[in-house]
Structures are given as structure tokens and as C-alpha cells.
Symmetry: D2
Subunit: 320 residues, 4 copies
């Protein structure tokens, strides 16, 4: 039994880790760290945890085998530099502090997209967990990048409200968001750099990614469609995708049309490719809090600890 | 490893059993029976099952240890009389054929509400799984019935669209149901008889239940509020509820306001009692497809097979 | 052309008045008062008003013929005592400051439920606009109260998120509220006193109202079901309702099941009565921002000004 | 007062015309034609019409001044050839039978996008009303096409469930569609030809349109984002858009981010342009049943009859 600490446990991704790890067979929760909510039980913040986890949030850390950082972007580095974490402790950061440049604070963060980096993750003591849109879009593009086939990519993606975190904002007010769709950070989303860094390193030549993110009127999930030009036949493209993900337990390349809800409450990504003329569209869907955040973090932990990749991640889909 | 057959596997409750049993450690799926969809893979009907279960629906049965009947109401008796099921096979019916009168076809169906009937269920070879509203309302009322405190009950309950099944109807059309609320079967819902039969047998005197069911604009869940008069103090009522459910692993009597989504995608029931003057209101919430149907069926199976009650039922809540 | 001032124009009911009055043939907007947003255009707060109304919010008032007060509860009296409004100006308060006791500040506020009080409203210079739940429940109960038939009433009502106003709260966060239902202010909602005062004055004997309000996962609308005992025949009850509302242009007593969305974006109330044994259930539905607030305020203005009751209120239903 | 007949009045767009025309000052409803529902009141099908329109559907036509055809695609031509409509009657077809080739059956259908074709529409006796996606996308592209600036366009659009009509389908089942997003007709949507025909005739050179339509989990509305390359400055583009729509009463080029719900239940289109590097994204939003269908049909009627363009179209936005 390994012990786990979660820093920022009072947020969405932190609490989702609690939900996952409460039933994980190989770990037990050590501390749940929160500066703002120390002294409060996590189940007082998230009522669904009432029968799952009775632990109080704390602002003191103790020695654990694994630490997950679920802090706002740009706060992980601060926290790590101010708190003493053993070099033997596996650190998995769900923020974006170490995704573009993993060498920091005497640690070497490995980019934690298991479908690309599994062998490096298996050796890692520090893992930078990918962003949610970054996961959905990379999984849609990597098989093509791997063959150097990417050039110009046009992607639209839609995300649920949990992507915006638990803070109250005009755009997360129910009255505004219900039945609504809107665009934000058009062409300038912070995940573009992260995606391009990874994609280009496989593609071996420049890629341009024109990404239009939308806010959707649902709580969980990301759906993306990426359009590119290629002369490849659809059957060859599908084969290429299936080969690329042959060993990936959480990625399914589907021959049928996909929909967002088939992956909600799972750690899976489903992908479907369509072609018309010399244009292909690659659709991908994930649960932004699972494969896009906390589920992938557990997957990375499993790999880094030498456990089965899907341990604690055989989740019943919501389905309906 | 015990083998399981699911009759009517192509419906919502049948497919939900597949989702649950696919990860249940003590069983494996034997057959998935469907007359109308024989020859089709269940994952072709429910895309979320693509990576979970690859079994084809069939219209032939084989010998199994446990059979779940997930048929439209009034078809279970027919099916059982036309198909030969060993008397040693545990039969769990999710329909309403045997809830009011369990002695039928040389079998003796035990009413499968574990919080009331656990010892009988443990001995049973035939179990009548309760209805969804019937579960939510009985769990709200039983601690009072157990003390003979029920007289006149006024209940309103709201249910998600999965309660209406997968058939296409005017009232399950997205365009109509989105953002909508409506009443149906006012004072005449079929679960009233089932509830009263159980409640009165504990209450030991007549109870009248005025039940107004509503359709809600969500897919999963039931929320009910029951109003009754009593002179008991609120602290005594809460104690009575907590004592009554002290051994029930899936029922939580909460001191805080509850909300529907805290139980969605779990097998739990949360209950909260409030009082003003001599009037109390008992709120209860369940996931209609889990504690209200397939989850409770697995709970009953676990008890009847002598396994841990929560085996395969430690489900991650959807939470958001 | 009469001039109108709206105090608290930056809130939901205030902005809804702007939407209604922008197309009202007999009035023009004088001032839109807001202390917190003075200097901002109302269309900067509510984007849907971009092509409708270009007026800037102000914290100075000018002479107008009609003033609507759309302030938080208990602030209308303050505002009126601190600002000089001519005694000839028609004042319509959408808050609850004058509903229970209309005689205040040298004014005599008439309770503005036109279906009960039309002749008094026609003479009034000060009108206390009813609450949203209060409107839906009174319209459901008044025909029985009018015959002294009310005794014990059990009501459940569900409201959209606009009922909670525009402030950001945990219970109006999209992530929490989407697909969720919860109870609040059980048996203690502030509208109960307002309802009972009016209902009892018609009923001529005591009435007890056990009201359980729920939060729904939609933005607009209120649906209520009230259960009472009576020996009257259903046909007689229906006749009584139809007679009572024979002259009410916005109330429909329907012979068919009703649903919330049929009144959304209209000033209407639909009512449907069902009976089983000696128990009847009266369902009613309104749009909480229209017949439950701003629409009814315009209806009251029309009556008080001697105009057609439905002027500016022939609104296209959202329907879908 | 002119008389109107609606053919296919029992569908979504037909019933939406009833909602609009019931309050239109210059017309009265003559007949509501429906083969399948003759003898039924339209208010029995659409409960929101109970207090608006009491007319029975009929399968016989009478002489009227204006006929709207709201039939499934490819049935308008049939209906017109089988029914005798005077050549003096204004015919407005909401289907796609005459959009690509308007010369048919001795009539000359003008493509009814008023922002492009107003003078032709003013002279027309036959109008082909544009498709819903076609309206939203053309309004987003036309100012650029008008300057010959279009080359390669990448568009994603999301539509509400009303776009799929009232028939019950797997993809309009509430249980499936709630909280869901999916793609359909990728790169092959039937509106692409219609859009290109119009756009190219302004652009004066080839345009390629890569269009990915999505199904959204809301009932009304279309939101689109179109990405193209250009060296123009953003201020110049905005000026170009504002000039192009200077005389269009229903189109707003907004300097602020737009959202879908600001146009729901209105006949408006809002457009917002953003730029990064040499890439621009044009967002547009409409209500698919109004500016995308029935509202635009009334707008076309107004123009063809010589009335104010916005007559009967000053609709209160749903806003929330």
C-alpha cells in the first residue's frame, strides 16, 4: 500500500482524484492539502464524497510516496519550492508549470501522455500531466504526426463547464450557460503551445494549429474535430490510427460515429476519422476531468509505479 | 466465478447490468438475451460499451448460475414460463411481475429491498427487485413505518428520462423535454401499491400515500420529498433514521441539505429530514438506474450469493 | 407616450422589463437606475439587448410617469424614502416590501394580482407586485378559496435558476446545477405568508400551506402541484376554475396535462386539475420572470393606466 | 389584412410561423394544411398555442394571398404541382426544393436572404427561404465574399435539436442527447452547395468550404466559427462587415464576444470577428427556427409585400 498526498484537493481535479483513489487497490490517502479550506472535511465541500472519504483538508504535509499537485496554473512551482518533498516521492503535476519545460527545481518532469511517452513515464519521478484539450487534440493528431503528415490543422473543440474550475464566474453561471454556446481564447488557447511542442517533435516539421475553443452547456467532456488535407486513403488512415494505438488500453479508434457521452465518467478517448475528397476530419472525445486530468494522472501513477495501467480506472461509464 | 445471463439486455436496465457486471470480480457474462436484437453486439446499441463488452445478443439461453430479467412490465412471468430455468438458478426480476405477489411458477419471489429484507434475500432463489420510485420513497418512509408512525403521506417525486426507457416517445423527445417539467400518473402511479404493501406491513396500520410524480429534464436520478405530520422532535427522528440504517452500506442519513447529483452514478440513497411546527419533510435521492434498478439487483445478487454486499458497487460518483 | 423609470435595471427582472417595454406601444424608457453599474450601458451587461436598447444606467432619477422598483427584497422602502417620487407617479414594486402591508410612506400599495384585484389595481398609484411562487400557487388555489373550500394544502414547486437572481452562488454554478434537483427553504419559504394572507381573505377561514420548494435545472419557469382533499366532483371543480378565470386573459384552465415549457417566455399561467378518490391535485405553470415578475408588472401597469391588459404582452412562446 | 396559408403547419417551422403570424398586424391565418393531422387543432399538437390559435388543421386549401410551404425537403415541388395556387399568390418555400435552381413550375424562386437579395425579394412572387446553417454561415462570409477575399474556409457549426425536426429519432432522444455532442454529415452537409452557390457568385472566384456540423444539447440555435486566412487588418475587416450590414435591421456586427443565447427567440444574427497573425475567425449565431427558418420567411414576406421589414418580428429575446 502506497500513500498519496493531494495538494489542492478542494478543487475539481483534486476532488476527482479523491473519488478515484478512494477505490484504488494499491494506495491510501495520506494528506489532502488545501490552504484555503484547512480544517474542513472534503465531504463538506463535495457532498458526493460523504460516504467515500471522511478526511479533513490540512495545510500541513506529511511524508508520502506520491504527491499530486492540483493547483491553479503557475502555482505548482511555487508550492514545490516552498515545501519539502523527498526526491524519492513521485510528483505528478496537473497544472501547466512543467509541460513546456520539465527541467526545474532539480527535477525532470516527463510529459505524461502515456500513449506517446510510456517508457519514459515508467522511469519518471516527476510527471507533467497534459492539459485537457491538449490530450484530446494530441490523441487525434499523433498517428499522423508520427508519419510526418501534419502541416496545417484546423481544430474546433467544445468543453464542459468543469474545465473552467469551481470559481464562480459569469460564464459558469447556470442562467447564462444553460442552452448556450460561445467561443473563447480564439486561436490563442494556452494548450496550443503544449500541443505543438509534442506534435512537432513527432512530425519532424512545422505544424500550424488553428484552434477555436468553445464553451458547451454540459459539465463534463471535450469533443474536438480537426480538419486537415491529405492524399492518404481512409482505410490506410484508419489502419495507421489502429496500429498506433494497438497497445493503448484507453484509446479506441472507432469505425462508427462517436459521441461525447460514450466516454463521460471513463478514462477513455474515442477517435473517429472521416474523409471527403482530399480532406479528412478526425473527431476525438474524452472526459476532461478523467482522461483530460485526474484519470490520466492515475494512469501515469500506475505506469510510474510499475502497476497495471488500468488499475482503479475500470470506471462505469455514465452512458445516459 | 459464477455465470450470469441477462434477459432483455438491450434495454436501459439490462445494459446498465452489463456495465456493472463487466467489472464485477465474482461473475462473468454467460448470455445476453434479446429477441428483437439477436445477432447484434450490445456495443453496437450502446457505444459506451465498445471497450467493455463485445458479446452478441442472442435469443437462446444457456445454463447459468444467475439470471436477471430486464423485461417490460408483465413480460417476466411469460418469459419464465416459456423458458426452462433450473430451480437452482438465482432469478432476479427487475420488472413488476412478482413484487406484489411473489408466489408464482413454483418460485417464491422475495421482495428485494435489502435495507428491510436482507435475511430473507440471503436465503432466496427468486428476488423481485423493487421499482425505482418505490425504492426512493420506501427508504424515506421505512424508519417511521417501523415505529408505526405513518398515517397520511404527501409525496412529490421527480424522475430522469431513463425512467421512461429507451423507446422513442413524445415525452422523451429532447426538444420537448429539455428545460421542461410535467406531472404524470398523478395519484395513480403503479409503484403506490408496491410501496403501501411494504410500508403497511411495517407500520401495522393503514397508510395513505398521495404521490405526484413529475418528469424532470435530466437523464438519471430520482428526488422525492414526503410531507407528514408528527409530534416527534427532529433530533429523535434523525436518531431513529440513523439507527434504522446503521447497517445499510448504501444509505446515508445526512445532516445537511442533499441534492440529486451527489448520488448519480452510485448505488447510494441519501436522506435528509427537516421539520417546521409539527410537520416533517423527508427528502431522498437515488440514481434510478442503480439503487433504483440494476445496482440494487447486483446488491441483491451479492447478498443472495453470500458475497460482500458492495462487491462491484464501489462506483465513482459522476459528481459534476 | 408615457415615460418609465426602472430602478435596479441591471438585475434579471429589471432587464426583463427593458425587454418588454422596448416594444410596448404606449411607453418610452426614461431612466434606468443602478447604483452599482451607473455609466454602463445595459446592453453591455445583457448582450441580447445590444440591438434593443442603448441606454446607459444612471444613478440619477428624472421625472417619469411610472417607476418600477426591481431591487433586492427590503430595499424598495429605503429607496423610496431616499428619493423623491411624485405622488402622481405610478410606482410598481417587484420586491416584497409592501406585499404584506401596503400602507407605507404615505402610499397605499395594492397587491397586484390582477386575477383577484383588478378593480383596485385600476385605481392604484402604488402596486405591490406578487412573488413568483406566490403567483403560481395563488392562481392554483384561488378558485377554491373563493368558495371557502381550502383547509390543508400540500404544495411542491420547482423553480428555474433565474429565481435566484444574477449573483454568483454555489447553487447557481452551472457545474452544480446542471442535471440536479434540490430542496430549499422547506416549509419556510418567504412567499407562504404572502400566499396565506391573500388566500385566507377569500377563503374566510384558516388555511395551512405546507410548501416544499425545489431548485430545478432550467433557467426560466415555475411548476407547482398542490394536493388537497375535497368531495367535489372533478367536473364541478373544472367549471369553478373556468368560471373564476373567465375574464382573465392570461390564465388558461386546461383539460389536458400541462407542461412548464408551454408558458415559457409568455405572461400566461396554465392550470390543470386531476382527481383520484377524494383527493385533487392542481398543477400550475408560469414563467417566473414574466407572469411571476416583470410581465405581471407590465400587466399591472396596463390596468392602472387604463390600457388594454395585454398591451405589449403578446409574446411569442419559446415553445421549444 | 392579407390572408395566409401554411402548408405543413404541424411541423416545427410551420408551428413557429403560426406563433409569429398570430401577432402579425397585417395578416390573418387562412388555412393550416396538414395531410397527416387534418381535423386536429394545432393547439392539440403544440400546447403553447392553446391561448394563441384555435384553428383546425385541414387537408383542403382555399384562396389566400400568401402561402408558406413548410414541408420535408423535396416535397414542396410535388405539393405545388398537385395543388392549384394562383400565380398572384406569394409563395415562400422553407424547404430546399428551389434554392439551387429557382426556375420551376412556371415560377421563378428568388433566394430569400434579404441581406443580399432585398431588391429582388421586393419584386418576387416566389421565394426560396435559405437553410438554417446556410443563413448563419453566409451571413458570416458574405462581407468577405463581396470583396473577393474568400478562398479556403474551415467552418464548424453546432445546431439545436429543433434542426432535426419533430420526428422521433435515436439522436433526438432526450436520454441520448442531454449533455452530449456529436458530429454528423461531416464535410457533406446539404447546405454546402447552397452556401457556395451564393458565396461564389459574390466572391467571383472559387471557394472551398470545409464544414463540420455538430449536434448540440439544446433545442434552439446555431453557432458557427469560420476560419480563413487574410492579410487584412482586423479594424478594416470590422469596418467592411459593419458597412456591409449597415442597412440590415437584423444583423449586428459586435465588437464583443458573442454567445448563442443572445439571439435565441429573436430574428437576429450576431457576428463577431477575431484575428491572430494572418488568420481570422468569424463567429455567427442565429435562432435556427427564426432567422434560420420561419422568422426569415416572415421577413421575406414583409419585404415582398412592401411592409416594414421588421413587422411582427420585434420579438422579446429569451435572454436566460
Amino acid at each position: 500500500m502506497k500513500t498519496v498526498g493531494i495538494v489542492g484537493a478542494n478543487g475539481y481535479t483534486g476532488s476527482e482524484l479523491v473519488r478515484l483513489l478512494a477505490y484504488h487497490p494499491n494506495v491510501e490517502l495520506g494528506f489532502l492539502y488545501s490552504r484555503s479550506n484547512a480544517g474542513t472535511k472534503i465531504s463538506e465541500i463535495y457532498a458526493d464524497l460523504e460516504m467515500v472519504c471522511d478526511i479533513e483538508l490540512t495545510n500541513e504535509i506529511s511524508a508520502v510516496d506520491i504527491v499530486f499537485l492540483c493547483l491553479p496554473h503557475r502555482e505548482s512551482k511555487n508550492w514545490l519550492s516552498q515545501n519539502s518533498v523527498s526526491e524519492n516521492t513521485l510528483v505528478i503535476d496537473l497544472g501547466n508549470d512543467f509541460r513546456l519545460d520539465g527541467k526545474s527545481l532539480d527535477r525532470n518532469f516527463i510529459y505524461g501522455l502515456p500513449e506517446i511517452n510510456k517508457s519514459d513515464i515508467a522511469q519518471a519521478k516527476s510527471i507533467a500531466n497534459p492539459g485537457c484539450f491538449a490530450t484530446a487534440i494530441q490523441l487525434a493528431l499523433m498517428p499522423l504526426a508520427n508519419k510526418g503528415l501534419l502541416d496545417e490543422v484546423y481544430t474546433t473543440g467544445i468543453t464542459g463547464s468543469t474545465g473552467a474550475g469551481q470559481s464562480l464566474q459569469a460564464t459558469t453561471h447556470f442562467t447564462w450557460r444553460n442552452d448556450n454556446v460561445s467561443a473563447y481564447k480564439t486561436l490563442t488557447h494556452q494548450h496550443v503551445d503544449e500541443i505543438l511542442q509534442q506534435v512537432i517533435s513527432l512530425n519532424n516539421k512545422e505544424v500550424s494549429l488553428n484552434f477555436v475553443p468553445w464553451r458547451g452547456d454540459f459539465a463534463r467532456g471535450i469533443f474536438t474535430s480537426s480538419t486537415i488535407k491529405t492524399d492518404l486513403e481512409l482505410t490506410d488512415i484508419n489502419q495507421l490510427y489502429k496500429d498506433f494505438y494497438a497497445e493503448a488500453p484507453f484509446v479506441k479508434v472507432s469505425d462508427r460515429a462517436i459521441d461525447l457521452k460514450q466516454v463521460v465518467n471513463t478514462n477513455r478517448c474515442v477517435i473517429h476519422v472521416e474523409k471527403n475528397g482530399n480532406v479528412i476530419v478526425i473527431h476525438s472525445a474524452i472526459d476532461n476531468l478523467l482522461k483530460g486530468a485526474s484519470g490520466q494522472a492515475v494512469q501515469n501513477m500506475n505506469i510510474a509505479m510499475g502497476w497495471e495501467e488500468n488499475l482503479g480506472l475500470d470506471l462505469k461509464p455514465i452512458a445516459f
